[in-house]
């Protein structure tokens, strides 16, 4: 057995020697390049290159598959974050594989990385906080791409969901970046989460208006409006006898994505019908009584 192996090594030896002598022709052993480009170095460089290419191809393949799977099976936010985490882990794997191929002592490097990690951790506190907040937000599933959010007075459509922040496209076409940490800390409203949304209309009519007739007119307007859902039924309420008139509340339901259109059409229709019916909107008035002397 040993004899066969020895014979094989003896056969391969002249080939290796020949390659080494060729390398020395380009880089004489006496020069600085010659000392650097030894046969061992060349083998290591080739090994590193092969490891780099193979591991990048492998990570790329995994990320591509995950991206396709997550697009079908997960919402944009979860999928994006999941792919990003795998991408970062994959790059770390590539770095370790390459360093291992280059015969770098990883235990020493990992020790150093621990210290560096602490330093970077302090420096990148905000980024890490945003990243962790992103994971919590994902687990809560409060919104997804295309939803309309209102965050701290800013409203817009969720344009993109990234590892550290989300981007909102406001209705006047501005791109607003909101860090994930802010989303965790502040009150956020998802306006289009549910399929239907109520349109709340406050109406102030004069004291001489017939409230029952006003209610009937409002219900008729809602029944004729194509933007208003037939179910749930509209809500009518006499809120208060106010200083300037009778405060009425009228709520109708619209499909969430047609709320804006419903708001306009309902308010236009109500104004037209109340005008036609002679029901007057109230405005601040002062009644002055003159006392005869």
């Amino acid at each position: 057995m040993m004899g066969e192996e020895g014979a094989a090594i003896a056969e391969a030896a002249p080939v290796a020697t020949e390659a080494a002598s060729r390398l020395r022709e380009f880089f004489p052993s006496t020069g600085p390049l010659g000392r650097l480009f030894t046969m061992d170095t060349a083998i290591i460089v080739v090994r590193v290159l092969i490891t780099l290419v193979l591991s990048l191809v492998f990570v790329g393949l995994v990320v591509t598959i995950l991206r396709k799977v997550s697009k079908k099976r997960m919402d944009a936010r979860t999928g994006g974050l999941f792919v990003k985490v795998v991408q970062y882990l994959g790059l770390a794997f590539v770095a370790f594989a390459v360093l291992d191929a280059a015969n770098v002592n990883l235990s020493a490097l990992l020790g150093a990385a621990g210290i560096v990690g602490i330093a970077i951790g302090f420096a990148a506190q905000t980024s890490v906080s945003n990243f962790i907040s992103g994971i919590f937000i994902v687990s809560e599933k409060t919104f997804t791409q295309g939803d309309v959010l209102s965050v701290d007075g800013t409203s817009g459509i969720v344009y993109s969901i990234d590892a550290f922040s989300i981007k909102l496209r406001t209705f006047d076409n501005q791109l607003i970046r909101i860090p994930n940490e802010t989303l965790i800390k502040t009150k956020m409203a998802n306006i289009t989460r549910f399929p239907a949304r109520r349109l709340n209309i406050d109406i102030l009519v004069t004291y001489d208006s017939d409230i029952e007739r006003t209610r009937d007119v409002l219900l008729e307007v809602a029944a004729k409006n194509q933007d208003v859902l037939r179910n749930p039924e509209p809500v009518f309420m006499v809120k208060e006898y106010g200083d300037n008139g009778i405060e009425l509340f009228f709520g109708v339901w619209c499909a969430s994505d047609e709320w804006f259109q419903g708001n306009n059409s309902m308010k236009i229709d109500i104004k037209k019908r109340l005008d036609a019916e002679g029901i007057q909107f109230a405005y601040p008035t002062v009644t002055v009584y003159s006392k005869k002397a």
């Binding site: 099976r73 549910f194 399929p195 239907a196 109520r198 859902l229 037939r230 179910n231």
Partner: protein, 265 residues
Amino acid sequence: MWEPYDVPRSEGTRIHRIGDALVCIAVEMTGAGDLLAAMPVYPEAGTQKKSLRKKADHAIALPPLEDGAWSRFFIGKAESYELSPGYPPLPACVSLKETFSLPPGATLDGWIFSRVEARVLVAGNELASFPLVKPYKTLYGTPDAGVVCRHDEAQFLASNEPMFDSLVTDPGLVAHPVRLKNASSEPVRVTELCIYGEQLSIFGVGTNMQSERLLFIFSSSGVRMSLDGQGPLPSGATVLAKPKVSGEERFIVRSFELFKAITRL
């Protein structure tokens, strides 16, 4: 009514009456090809008397072809277009005119009707689809988990035959044979039924239309609509429209939704 027609190149606007609705078709000729314009016209509030209908078709004042009310499509040199029935893109929520209670374990067979849309096709491609009455929407279910549907209203006919001639004369209605089953342990009040038209065909039976048999199962977790087997078609029935989504496709989507709901992924 649901058949191919020549493109009206030299006769002005052609008006198709389907029930109370009118579908107007006109052609604008250009050098490179033609533009087909289509527009629905719905009756004003209140019903029209039949004797006045024909007169009304002639008296109707249509806007010019440049008006935004017309939908315009480039059809090249196509010689014909087709009118075809189709289900609305949204599910139809049919409110029953007379609600009833279904005791636990009971099964009831009957018929309900829903309204189709008129589709305009050129060379097999759908150009436009018009509801045959002014479309209203409604929410089927609760505000947090419901489905926005097309609103429809019909009577539930608890009989084996649809009784087309006696009760239903509107050519825009499709009859659905249904089986209602209460699988819960409580009585269920049946007030509305939600029909997902994308899974259904439309069969022409004489001058009427009919779909596959539907099964509605009422359970403690909600109501589920499914096809109740694929029985033999009535004699002389022709296929006017095929389902947009196959049952298998729907099954896979529903299974995955269920899996997501269970695993909270």
